[in-house]
């Protein structure tokens, strides 16, 4: 009995192995086919313009799933020889759709990754895009470590102190210019005014790990013209955070945001407050939270559409540029796979140009997807008020680099996020936090 069972098992395993082996060979033939076509297509002039080609796009920003399909359809109508296959990662999925497709043997043609990924995780992935026409229309093309342009900026995003216009205007009695808050004392004065107007807790400070570490705690990098220079000093162990005024300044402001006096969650500042904070500010029970333009998705669900950004003040010097600017920069970057066939690469480039130059593409990007375009020639404006606030700030030159692009977000979220949260909960001192960040850089 037992013997037959074992033999059945062995037989089955063998069968399964043969099956998978078949799958394997199937793959290899496909691969050698593409290799063949690569060989024949090596001479670009040999590529016929209308030869059918299929490109595979792996997208991030899962909230746009349906819209990506629409874009692909519109693009295919204009380019009948190109078939676009779109894959989009779900919101909150830890494993990127690009990694999943790659490890199952699919050669993704065009992939959307985070800016830091271009330099670290996918540094050997992309092809040189510096010869592309769109380069002259943007300041946000992403360069690799050697300085070659390899990344296409899909969107501009930004963060700062999101405020409910109605509540704030009610408190200050009239129109309110967010850029008038350019010192920490002025922010305190605003909080007091809000409290005087009946808002018990002006701030609903949500303290998710990614927010307090990746976003808030990277802001100090903007004190240097090139944030990378500070990252390099940190790696070399020559940058002392505890004695750095700007670094300390941001935590002085954080202390204020998390304080029992002003923060709705002040007595227990760490918790799962993301939804609650957005509901509070959306409804007007609180007035201010720290987040980016994507917060509108949550705010919109509960209230009208009058929101804006206040810069995060770092000290009491009104002339300090850090006090007068909000953080904004490219966030979702398209890179083209160097392992794709030349025909696929050409088609992918065409798709990128379609987003920049084609009227339908321009309209899709800004009006439908509500993405702030990184390209000067795009005539449209987003209607989402937080996005619009960033677009205006960009136009007025009141933005500074998206500091999160200079750190490794995955590491900061899982290694430093808990450290910052412990600091907020007063379980660790500021010196401990400085130490944690420095040793993260020197030990990796």
């Amino acid at each position: 009995m037992r013997k037959t069972f074992v033999s059945v098992l062995v037989l089955l395993l063998a069968a399964v192995l043969v099956l998978t082996a078949c799958g394997g060979t199937g793959n290899t033939t496909a691969e050698s086919n593409t290799n063949n076509s690569t060989a024949t297509n090596n001479n670009p002039s040999a590529v016929a313009e209308d030869e059918p080609v299929t490109i595979i796009i792996a997208n991030g920003k899962g909230e746009l799933t349906a819209l990506y399909e629409q874009a692909a359809k519109d693009f295919m109508t204009e380019n009948p020889n190109i078939t676009v296959e779109v894959h989009t990662g779900a919101v909150g999925d830890s494993l990127s759709v690009l990694d999943r497709l790659t490890s199952s043997g699919v050669v993704v043609t065009l992939a959307m990754v985070e800016p830091n990924g271009v330099l670290e995780k996918y540094k050997d992935f992309g092809i040189d895009l510096s010869g592309e026409r769109w380069v002259e229309e943007t300041n946000d093309a992403i360069k690799n470590a050697e300085g070659t342009i390899v990344g296409f900026p899909f969107s501009i995003e930004g963060f700062g102190l999101v405020y409910n216009k109605q509540v704030v205007e009610n408190a200050v009695g009239g129109s309110f210019d967010p850029f008038s808050i350019n010192t920490r004392d002025k922010l305190i004065a605003l909080f007091d005014q809000l409290q005087a107007s009946g808002v018990q807790y002006p701030v609903a400070y949500q303290t998710e790990g990614w927010s307090v570490s990746n976003h808030y705690s990277s802001q100090f990098l903007n004190q240097a013209e090139d944030p990378n220079s500070i990252v390099n000093q940190l790696k070399a162990g020559t940058f002392d955070l505890a004695s750095n005024e700007v670094w300390n300044g941001y935590y002085d402001t954080m202390d204020l945001l998390a304080s029992e006096q002003y923060n709705k969650y002040g007595e227990r500042p760490i918790g799962q407050y993301y939804d609650d904070a957005h509901v509070s500010v959306g409804k007007g029970e609180s007035a201010i939270l720290f987040n980016g333009n994507w917060a509108f998705d949550s705010l919109q669900a509960v209230a009208g559409d009058s929101f804006g950004f206040i810069p995060v003040p770092v000290d009491n010097n009104p002339d300090n540029p850090l006090n007068n600017k909000i953080v904004a920069g490219p966030t979702n970057i398209y890179i083209i796979n160097k392992d794709a066939t030349p025909a696929q690469q050409e088609a992918a480039k065409k798709y990128l140009n379609w987003l920049v130059y084609d009227e339908v593409g321009q309209d899709w990007l800004v009006n439908k997807a509500q993405v702030i375009s990184a390209f000067k020639n795009n005539p449209h404006k987003v209607t989402n008020p937080l996005g619009a606030a960033i677009a205006v700030a960009i136009a007025q030159g009141k933005t500074m680099p998206f500091s999160t692009n200079y750190i490794v977000p995955g590491d900061w979220f899982s290694i430093l996020g808990p450290e910052v949260q412990q600091y907020i909960d007063k379980r660790k001192s500021r010196e401990d936090l400085a130490q944690a960040i420095q040793s993260y850089y020197t030990s990796n």
Partner: protein, 287 residues
């Protein structure tokens, strides 16, 4: 030969699916632990046991393992005690007992993720509101912001979710106890407490073997509830071992080490549940 054909016919489909869904991924997963991948898209290199050494030296892995063991201990006791109490209640001839059976079982039909978000709302919004209205200090601040309370929040939701399922197994066990044995003990003068501890529970060991095994395994492997309810917070104080493995592999991009930690977790769970089943089987009253 004919027998082999028969066996293949009946067990074949199951075995194929078992292999595709479990066996092959497991073997391949083990193979991955011996490899080094710098990035998810880069080719693999042979690395020997390096991933295992790094996994063993990962202090946070053992911290989360210890936390998981505490969680396992708390949930096994509470889930089984609650499940048994509920089963005893709904088989004791209560009016509307079928309604109660359904009601207690329902939470089990809700997936862990949804459950986590529902209870997050309860812990962050409902309980604090209640606490403020009724002046209960314990509920006034959200539980998920305090390391200890967040841990117990996880335990409470787990009990709420799985006690109903265990109840069904206990009901089956309770019903199958021969009536004459209970009657005989009543005639011999045993009171209801004695009947419960001397007769019913010893006869129900087979049911306990199953429920303890299930709650042990579920608690060791918990991820969805952990992810949705506390997200590992506050500051990683409720990060169970599965969540640590997922973060190691997919957020910090340490595939090899994450996979090696998953294998270590598998070995620990396999040994613990194996020992549990072996010893509790011995306690069964041979009928």
């Amino acid at each position: 030969m004919k027998r082999l054909g028969n066996q293949l016919f009946f067990t074949g489909p199951t075995m194929i699916f078992f292999s595709i869904a479990l066996l092959i991924p497991f073997v391949y997963g083990f193979y991955l632990t011996l490899m080094k991948m710098a990035t998810p898209v880069s080719p693999m290199e042979y690395a020997g046991v390096e991933n295992y050494l790094r996994a063993i030296r990962d202090n946070k892995f053992w911290d989360s393992m210890w936390l998981t063991i505490k969680y396992v201990g708390a949930t096994i006791v509470l889930v089984n005690v609650t499940g048994f109490a509920l089963a005893y209640l709904v088989t004791s001839g209560l009016r509307k007992q079928n309604f109660f059976r359904t009601a207690f079982f329902t939470p089990n039909l809700i997936g862990g993720l949804v459950l986590g978000y529902i209870w997050q709302f309860i812990f962050v919004r409902s309980l604090p509101t209640l606490g403020e209205k009724l002046g209960v200090e314990l509920f006034r601040l959200g539980w998920l912001g305090d390391a200890n309370l967040a841990f117990w929040a996880l335990v409470i939701v787990t009990v709420w979710q799985s006690a109903g399922y265990m109840m069904i197994i206990f009901i089956a066990g309770l019903i199958s106890i021969p009536r004459d044995v209970i009657e005989a003990s009543t005639i011999d003068g045993a009171n209801s407490w004695q009947r419960l501890t001397r007769m019913t529970i010893p006869l129900m060991v087979p049911a306990f073997v199953i429920t303890v095994f299930l709650s042990l395994k579920n608690a060791f492997m918990v991820y969805d509830l952990n992810f949705a309810l506390t997200g590992g917070g506050p500051y990683d104080s409720t990060k169970m071992v599965s969540m640590h493995v997922v973060q190691k592999a997919f957020i910090e991009n340490n595939y090899g080490v994450g996979q090696a930690e998953a294998i270590i977790l598998f070995v620990i769970v396999a040994v613990v549940t194996g020992v549990q089943v072996y010893y509790s089987k011995k306690m069964e009253v041979s009928g």
